[in-house]
Symmetry: C2
Subunit: 420 residues, 2 copies
């Protein structure tokens, strides 16, 4: 009897976990992604600030799936990988159409994540730098280094200031960690690299539309973060929106114009939905509405997880962090196996182990249950938790060595203009 | 009194060494390169075969020059770096014109190295993969991985064979090490990554125009290398030239056509000469003819070193290896200082400490004086010497860890399709 075929689209945290959790389901599992590697997204900002090599956070999917390469009874490997771009999903025919083939499925897991959204701000998509993919992180790194290179040769004072002004739009975790990492970069050995440049001329701005930073965390943590970044020299604008981005400046809604060659966009995200034969119900940011079981409405054999799916818990939408996607990956695998056994899927409930956010310069914030904490402990915990979550011992060793190098020697080794 | 200005174009082995050796000359030293990093070229083939991260062999020039950032008596750093593309050199006005500025010099060192030359073979420049720059090494790595990805999904047998056939053109050190490294790659954990692919289907070809491999080394070493590679499964064509390269095949002058999606070009090099106001005398491969003092003919204050210069010793041209460029960098610094003191420059003489070439699979060849040796000792010596020559302790540690990982675990971690 032919094994049922489960297709998973997207090898982010959710999709990859689902594939691994389904390895012993007895079904044929096929994982599809447009890249042949999984990106450890939480450390993208460290690639962008020349701290980590891009390869340290990009894991060949085939290597991760290697332990499932043992054959099952029908001679096929338990989990297969296919590198392809998904063009369209036909729910009626139950086919995933890629740039290369038409793949039939019995069960489908959509885990294509999210991408930067520019909130219809004029010029943002063309001139601002997003930070959601590895390619974007490397482009941003090259931009930052390029600005220092050009500034060191620039005789025009205004132009030099523009090159040395960095504006981060968005005061969530990504914006905050970028700001802190840029401060760390400036405080390190950068001065010795640019002896003709006055590093004091560098200006960092953080523009947040809300009334505090880190709105997904309790207010006092947002206030701590604000004070810490101010102390580190970052100029913070709260309750301020961006109205336009040009190649050399950012315009705020309060009519202020900041000349800057580098505007870093962390302010908006939207779901990365593949094209489908029938339109699916969506919520905020284009995320797909799902049943508590993670099944897509009207399609009982199709699931959506991770940043692609809209889920609420205790009346609030989930934050969009890796542990949520990982738990959903496990849950969807369990639910599909229930369906294979003719049983009903169970609703998903996220077990919140806590939340951490890194600021930088030995500082961070955290919340576990009702207990909040700040400072060096939160900083170390953030680093430690992410070290543990990295796939594989090789990566953990290399990233740990790099962090020791950075934090003990104050140096960043990847100050390279290598384009991708 | 204004210090004399020495401009060095090109931060390869020769140019970078010259800059460091001139740091205490009392002159203003300016090093120019189109990239902000120095590439450790001998290990490019390991980037191409997914063994090393590109960043491990790309060193930020500013970091290397950091110890010269101390100021001299006129307030300027001893050695400055400028990232720019040199467009033209005007010998009469003594100006180096870049894409950004016009830089006056009192002394000039041209160290722009060499690039791949396609020997007027039809299609080679468009379809073959060269291996002289980091960008090319990464492109080749992506091509190799891409071929395995596509082959694992390819149902057409002929097309699959084409994807799994790799042809190396050129049987010098670079061609030999690429062939050996590809064999190492295939013998490693690749099978587990592609469980549906029959790795035995992979075919490796090495095409050499001369009558033996490694013509710059004694005949018996060439014979040993030939036998070793044949043992490893590489099909070698001696006294064979390529007549054409197409997107899917390589045509040999003996009328044989090998279907292959990946033709790796290591067969020809030519000097990378900048445009100059007066034409300079050139020898084979467009290399500039220089006096034994390394001064360019007719331009007593202009020097050419490294792969850009044509030099003979004992009636034979120098090979074009890193130690030659390093010694020339030291020599040119000494000669310029002599000129600054009103003395005559001295002729350069290369002190040949020996020559090593790596084959792979724990095998290599070497020659020190009249003594030749082969096998594991030569292999270990090659690795050891290159480890010592790497700039900086961080790089040495990371490369050493990677080699231990590869050779003890048989794995290659950088099997990523990340484009540059």
């Amino acid at each position: 009897m032919k094994s049922p075929r489960i297709v998973i689209v997207g090898a982010g945290f959710g999709g990859l976990q689902a594939a691994q959790s389904l390895a012993n389901s007895g079904a044929d599992v096929l994982l599809i992604d447009r890249h042949n590697y999984h990106t450890f997204v939480p450390l993208l900002y460290q690639v962008a600030t020349s701290q980590l090599e891009p390869e340290y956070i990009a894991y060949p999917i085939r290597t991760i799936l290697r332990r499932f390469s043992g054959k099952r009874h029908n001679g096929k490997p338990k989990v297969q990988f296919c590198m392809a771009e998904v063009e369209r999903i036909d729910f009626t025919a139950q086919i995933v159409k890629t740039d290369d083939a038409a793949i039939a499925y019995d069960f489908l897991v959509m885990a294509t994540g999210c991408q930067a959204q520019f909130l219809e701000v004029h010029g943002a998509a063309e001139y601002a730098f997003a930070l959601k993919t590895l390619k974007q992180a490397v482009a941003l790194r090259n931009q930052i280094i390029s600005c220092f290179e050009r500034a060191s040769q620039e005789t025009n004072r205004l132009r030099r200031e523009q090159l040395l002004t960095f504006v981060i739009v968005g005061g969530g975790a990504t914006g905050v960690e970028m700001a802190g990492a840029l401060v760390e970069m400036l405080r390190g050995k950068l001065r010795q690299d640019y002896p003709t440049l006055d590093i004091e001329q560098v200006r960092l701005f953080l523009v947040q539309s809300g009334d505090r930073l880190l709105t997904e965390l309790p207010q006092k943590l947002g206030v701590y973060t604000y004070k810490k970044l101010r102390q580190l020299g970052v100029k913070i604008y709260l309750q301020t929106k961006v109205s336009e981005v040009t190649p050399g400046s950012v315009h705020l809604q309060n009519h202020e114009v900041i000349p800057s060659a580098t505007v870093i966009w962390t302010a908006g995200l939207e779901a990365n939905s593949p094209e489908t034969s029938e339109e699916l119900a969506t919520a905020k940011k284009g995320k797909l509405v799902v049943h508590p079981t993670l099944q897509v409405l009207e399609q009982p054999n199709v699931y959506a997880i991770g940043d692609l799916a809209y889920l609420e818990q205790n009346g609030k939408p989930l934050s969009g962090v890796a542990p949520e996607a990982l738990q959903q990956g496990v849950a969807v695998a369990r639910n599909i196996q229930k369906q294979l056994q003719g049983k009903a899927p169970k609703p998903f409930s996220y077990f919140n182990k806590g939340r951490l956010a890194i600021i930088g310069c030995h500082s961070g914030v955290g919340k576990i249950g009702n207990f909040t904490f700040t400072g060096c402990l939160a900083w170390l915990m953030w680093l430690g938790v992410h070290l543990v979550y990295l796939p594989g011992y090789r990566s953990r060793l290399l990233v740990l060595l790099t962090w020791l190098y950075t934090y003990l020697l104050g140096d960043r080794a990847v100050r390279l203009l290598l384009s991708m």
